[in-house]
């Protein structure tokens, strides 16, 4: 843990994004892109919507056989990386600190500010309510993708799980909609990272130091909701 610094006052400090998080983030980013692009090639082989084909330059793997090879390589990496991420997030308390609590009123207030282009970015260490909802949401969507993907891959071996999606085509549809949600998240996530480049830099360098036991950051100052820019 080279990221932990002991400051002269003796308080333990860590980076906003510890090395483990950064490594897992970029492995996940690459794996997701492979899964999405090879998935589009697989989709093209038997489209769900007659009006929707993905142009071949957007797909990966060439024909379905190559795309399936890539998809079935990347799925193992996604699952292994995802399990490591969940284990890390729960065991270190990162999820509790960064993603909770989620309050409806805060989400609405943040959405208003976002639409009025009044969002503050001076404090990267604090996720606002909308960010928390999106980050928790995308984790749940990826878990749903793994489950629906498992059913598409093994509808007979996992026939008990297949019932959750009504039938094989139900699982395909859910897997497709999950992809739509992930692509939507990805576009927003990348756009916001480019608008506020220091967030992108932080995911590479680690970002600012934060107290090791930063439970306080989970409870924003009630007098300063959403940390509005002054």
């Amino acid at each position: 843990m080279a990221d932990i610094n002991v400051k002269s006052n003796g308080r333990h400090l860590a980076r906003l994004h510890p090395l483990a998080i950064r490594v897992m983030h970029w492995i996940n980013a690459l794996t997701m892109i492979v899964l999405i692009m090879s998935g589009w090639a697989i989709y093209n082989d038997e489209v769900i919507f007659g009006w929707l084909h993905f142009p071949s330059w957007m797909t990966m793997g060439g024909g379905p056989e190559g795309a399936l090879q890539w998809h079935f390589l990347a799925m193992w990496i996604l699952v292994a990386n995802g399990i490591a991420y969940l284990a890390y997030g729960f065991s270190t308390g990162r999820f509790r600190r960064k993603l909770l609590p989620i309050r409806i009123a805060e989400i609405i207030a943040e959405m208003r500010r976002a639409l009025a282009l009044e969002l503050a970015h001076d404090d990267l260490t604090h996720y606002n309510a909308v960010q928390r909802v999106l980050y928790v949401g995308i984790i749940l969507v990826v878990i749903l993708q793994v489950i629906s993907g498992l059913v598409i891959w093994k509808p007979v071996q996992f026939s008990e799980l297949a019932i959750l999606f009504y039938d094989f085509q139900g699982a395909r549809l859910v897997h497709f909609l999950g992809m739509v949600a992930i692509v939507g998240f990805l576009l927003l996530h990348v756009a916001l990272a480019l608008i506020v480049p220091k967030t992108l830099v932080a995911m590479i360098t680690g970002g600012p130091d934060v107290p090791r036991d930063a439970t306080a950051s989970a409870e924003p100052d009630p007098n300063q909701p959403g940390k509005l820019a002054s």
Binding site: E65, Q157, A162
Partner: protein, 263 residues
């Protein structure tokens, strides 16, 4: 799923290329070729130097993907539950007729002559005498109504009957500890499956669809129908069966599709 649009699929080959255009413009094509060859010879040397590293890179990627696919074969064999049954359906769900599928169009289908047809046997089998269709029809019949799932993503429910492959393998004295059961077909298609899948209670050598003999487009007189594999793992128009420990691959598997392809 009713709206199906044309997809660039290997499983749905288009018609043969129309040669008339080439014939009409024969002279033009030749003259272009001659000019291109002159230019091409000059740049060919430079090109090989540029792409040398790229080609090696592509080969190594292909090797990795192939190794992962073989690893996925083993993972699927571990996931396979030999006695877990695929969901079955009521006869009113059955699609009639089933969906045609081959590596060529239905117009190019060459029907099998039932009078001369024989099922040849080879490999680790006690009694390798070939079987006539009459002898196959006399075997005990089992029926399954199961979902057919294609690697492309479409599916339908079909009603298949025939002798259980396990029963047939026992009857001919096959070595049930062998690794593979391989098939050859009248249309030069070929394929192989693992022994545990061959012995699954929902794996048949099917002779009937919806209670009637299977018609020509769907594998007459004999085809494999297993509820635990993707569609392309079910060879049609079978003419020979081998029990073996040697990996035999398959038509689509040798073109990059995953071999185990269990569902």
């Amino acid at each position: 799923m009713s709206q199906r649009s044309p997809s660039p699929s290997l499983f749905r080959p288009k018609r043969a290329i129309d040669q008339s255009v080439l014939e009409e413009n024969h002279a033009l094509v030749q003259s272009i070729d001659r000019r291109k060859i002159l230019r091409g010879t000059l740049s060919l040397g430079a090109l090989t130097m540029l792409t040398g590293c790229d080609v090696t890179h592509r080969d190594s990627v292909q090797r990795v993907l192939k190794a992962v696919s073989q690893w996925n074969d083993r993972a699927q064999a571990l996931l396979f539950r030999p006695n877990h049954l695929a969901p079955t359906y009521s006869p009113d769900k059955v699609v009639k007729p089933p969906r045609f599928n081959a590596y060529y169009d239905v117009e190019d289908l060459a029907p099998v002559n039932a009078d001369t047809w024989k099922l040849e046997l080879a490999g680790l089998i006690g009694d390798k005498r070939p079987w006539t269709l009459r002898q196959i029809y006399d075997l005990p019949e089992q029926e399954i109504i199961v979902r057919h799932i294609c690697v492309e993503g479409w599916d339908y429910i079909g009603q298949w009957s025939g002798v259980s492959l396990r029963h047939f393998l026992e009857r001919i004295g096959a070595d049930l500890t062998a690794r593979y059961v391989a098939f050859k077909c009248a249309d030069d298609y070929y394929g192989s499956i693992d022994m545990p899948s061959a012995l699954h209670p929902q794996t048949l050598l099917a002779t009937k669809y919806a209670g009637e003999p299977i018609t020509d487009p769907f594998g007459f007189p004999l085809r494999l129908r297993t509820a635990v594999k993707l569609g392309f793992k079910n060879p049609k128009w079978i003419t020979a069966m081998e029990v073996t420990n040697t990996y035999r691959g398959g038509y689509w598997e040798d073109r990059g599709f995953n071999w185990f392809s269990g569902i």
